[in-house]
């Protein structure tokens, strides 16, 4: 890591994965607590401290820092220009790092056991919320740097098509700016004033609505690096080309449009909203499947090109001809399988009526662990493995530990999440620290919970091996530091303006958000609502 820009990327990715490793230990321990097996240090307090820490680290720190680091890397390597505002980028990193330390210390000291979703009127120490806000502020600097980098490149290359990897990264930056508006408003106007003691009550319905604004779009913010790797790295590693650059652009634009006005599907079971807007947002949620389904086709076709170039034959027989020994290809294969199962579960969650069977049960935990922990995080691993030789200048000494690690993670998450789906259908609630398995009504949940906990420890082994690999494996032959992205079959020199920028799409997002959220938010100012008394969790227990 000879140059400062590379250090910037590595610093972000290291912080992301250290947070991940700590949270993985917490996660495995939590599964033990929930199972019939005795866990060390098991109390309700330690459990919920751990759940708060696990959630905040996995949902806020890991993806945000990873997306930032990878974004900086893409901006430098895809645009082939120095990063504008390198100092700003470092400032953003340190602001986020201070926020992380602040939030983690507060959570571990038991002063903010409110889970990462906050749940006002429960109110913890102000330092937890400020810490999370600082991470967001750091990421806003990243957003500014990404947009500036693209604008600068466009000025230097008038009319040229912005490379797909950067186009997608900026789509994600803009998506993130929109995403953070909801939780930002909740924190600034409701939660922070309460935790500072300036207000003594909170409108819980409004808080839930603002959080729902963020809650689904944030998932797509997490997901985007995986899709960027599918479109711009995987086809090349597999030995082929991207089937269609245009389809990539269209998919990323659709993600920007449809991941935002859908958050109320998290509130189907909430009494503070009528069925009209729940129904509307369910319809919009269905549309967010479109870019994923388009991606499956385009990436499938891209992989088929690679496989046939390697002598693959048959309608589906070509799949065997793919270079499965390469970590990026193996990880993408696992990612697609998990995306399939997770997506199926998601269709149940998004369906207005069926959701009532599984809302807030272990089914939901299973769903997002499969999609985020599985499909997405395994691609974070693959991206890190892919760019590490270019950052460190050294190849991995062996690919075997990398393959073992990817297998461990895949097997672990399947064993963890499949029993959770079943337990969810039984009605097992999530976020409960311990169950009375002596009760005959739920005794049969015990074995499934145990199996799932075993999966958790396989995942933990995968997490540990991953960190070990990154820290020790890259000491092999000198590596080529050049990062190159997949070319499309017909690599465009120019594309229509609407596929090369976000002006129009930003306007459309604004329109969709007004349609989807204007009344659901405004109603709280027209209804006779009664705010709930603030309940502190940080003073006097």
């Amino acid at each position: 890591m000879n140059s400062s820009p590379n250090r910037l990327v590595a610093a972000h990715i290291w912080v992301a994965f250290i947070a991940f490793a700590v949270a993985a230990v917490m996660g495995a321990w939590q599964m033990l607590v929930r199972s019939p097996i005795d866990a060390p240090l098991e109390t309700a307090e330690t459990y919920f401290v751990s759940v708060t820490g696990h959630g905040a680290l996995m949902a806020y720190v890991l993806p945000t820092l990873f997306v930032m680091g990878f974004g900086y890397y893409v901006a430098m390597t895809a645009l082939k220009q120095p990063l504008p505002g390198l100092r700003w980028a470092w400032a953003g990193f340190y602001i986020a790092a201070i926020g992380i330390v602040m939030a983690v210390v507060t959570v571990l000291s038991g002063q903010a056991t409110v889970l990462y979703t906050f749940y006002p009127p429960l109110t913890g120490s102000v330092f937890f919320y400020l810490g999370v806000l600082l991470v967001v502020v750091g990421s806003w600097i990243w957003v500014a740097v990404m947009i500036t980098a693209m604008m600068k490149w466009k000025r230097a290359n008038p009319g040229a098509a912005v490379p797909l990897a950067m186009f997608a990264t900026v789509a994600n930056a803009i998506l993130w700016l929109w995403t953070t508006a909801g939780v930002g408003a909740e924190l600034l106007f409701q939660v922070l004033p309460a935790s500072l003691g300036w207000t003594d009550s909170i409108d819980a319905g409004l808080a839930r609505t603002l959080f729902s604004w963020t809650l689904h779009a944030i998932v797509y913010f997490w997901l985007m690096p995986a899709y960027i790797a599918f479109y711009t790295i995987l086809p090349k590693v597999a030995g082929g080309r991207l089937y269609s650059d245009t389809m990539g652009r269209v998919s990323f634009i659709l993600f920007l449009l449809y991941s935002l006005p859908v958050g109320m599907h998290h509130l189907f079971m909430d009494p503070e909203h009528g069925s009209g807007f729940k129904f509307l947002q369910m319809m919009l949620t269905a549309l967010v499947t479109v870019p994923t389904l388009l991606t499956i086709f385009t990436i499938g076709a891209s992989l088929e090109i690679a496989a046939r170039l390697r002598g693959g034959k048959g309608l589906f027989g070509w799949v065997r001809a793919l270079p499965w020994d390469r970590p990026m290809v193996l990880a993408a294969g696992f990612s697609f399988i998990m995306l399939g199962f997770g997506g199926f579960g998601g269709l149940i969650n998004m369906s207005y009526a069926m959701n009532s069977m599984i809302h807030n049960t272990s089914w939901v935990t299973a769903h997002f662990h499969l999609i985020f922990g599985g499909s997405v995080v395994i691609m974070y691993f693959a991206i890190a493995y892919h760019i590490w030789p270019k950052l460190t200048g050294r190849e991995a000494r062996s690919l075997t530990p990398i393959r073992v690690q990817l297998w461990l993670w895949f097997v672990g998450i399947v064993i963890t999440s499949f029993p959770w789906h079943i337990l969810g259908l039984f009605g097992q609630p999530r976020r409960v620290s311990s169950f009375d398995f002596a009760n005959p009504e739920i005794a049969y949940w015990g074995p499934w919970t145990t199996v799932s906990a075993i999966g958790g420890f396989i995942m933990l082994a995968g997490a540990a091996l991953f960190v070990w690999n990154l820290a020790t494996l890259y000491r092999g032959a000198a590596a080529d530091r050049t990062m190159s992205y997949a070319m499309a079959v017909h690599q465009p020199r120019e594309v229509p303006r609407v596929l090369n920028g976000f002006g129009l799409w930003n306007t459309l997002v604004a329109v969709l958000m007004i349609v989807a959220y204007a009344w659901p938010i405004a109603q709280f100012f027209f209804l006779d609502t009664y705010p709930a008394p603030v309940q502190r969790v940080d003073v006097g227990g």
Binding site: A204, R208, S244, M269, P271, T289, S351, N360, F426, G427
Partner: protein, 179 residues
């Protein structure tokens, strides 16, 4: 590979995707309407600070009430860290409306293994209507984090066969938990 062929193949796929998404929505909407499945969406506000003093959710009104038309209404409060009352009798195979609210923080209501499910948000009354077809005790855990005692917040919904369904003169019915 000819660019036009690529575009044609993509358009064919877009058509398949559009058809699949449309079919999915049609199935969801049709089953929702045909089975009258509606998540709690009554948008009914209530003051969490005074609900125990006056009105529908005072202690005397909590529990199971058979209405004149034979339907049943169950009123309960979810509070840290118990449901009041802790045992809820309901008749088998009859429409039951459940009305629940919270005086303190957010809670969750689910009858395990059924589609009776709602968030309980302070400031709002959640109402859901369903039927229970399996006689016996069904566990009713709080499914949303409400503080450190959350894991101990369980109640029981007891589905009573029609022949054992004998409410008192006021249409009230209660049950006791077997320890």
């Amino acid at each position: 590979m000819d660019e036009k062929r690529i575009v044609r193949s993509e358009l064919r796929w877009v058509f398949v995707v559009a058809a699949a998404v449309t079919l999915m929505l049609v199935v969801i909407v049709a089953t929702t309407l045909a089975n009258a499945l509606h998540p709690p969406s009554n948008v009914e506000t209530i003051d969490p600070a005074t609900l125990h003093i006056a009105g529908e959710f005072t202690e005397a009104n909590l529990g199971t009430q058979e209405n004149a038309d034979g339907t049943v209404t169950v009123r309960l409060i979810a509070t840290q860290y118990a449901f009041v009352p802790r045992c809820l009798p309901v008749p088998e195979g009859r429409p039951v409306s459940i009305r629940v609210t919270s005086p303190d923080v957010i809670h969750g209501f689910i009858v395990a293994g059924t589609n009776a499910n709602t968030m309980v948000v302070p400031g709002f009354v959640a109402e859901l209507t369903t039927e229970f077809d399996e006689p016996g005790d069904h566990l009713m855990p709080c499914h949303e984090y409400c503080g450190l005692g959350h894991s101990n917040m369980w109640a029981v919904l007891r589905v009573v066969p029609e022949e054992e369904w004998i409410p008192d003169a006021n249409g009230r019915m209660t049950c006791e938990l077997v320890p």
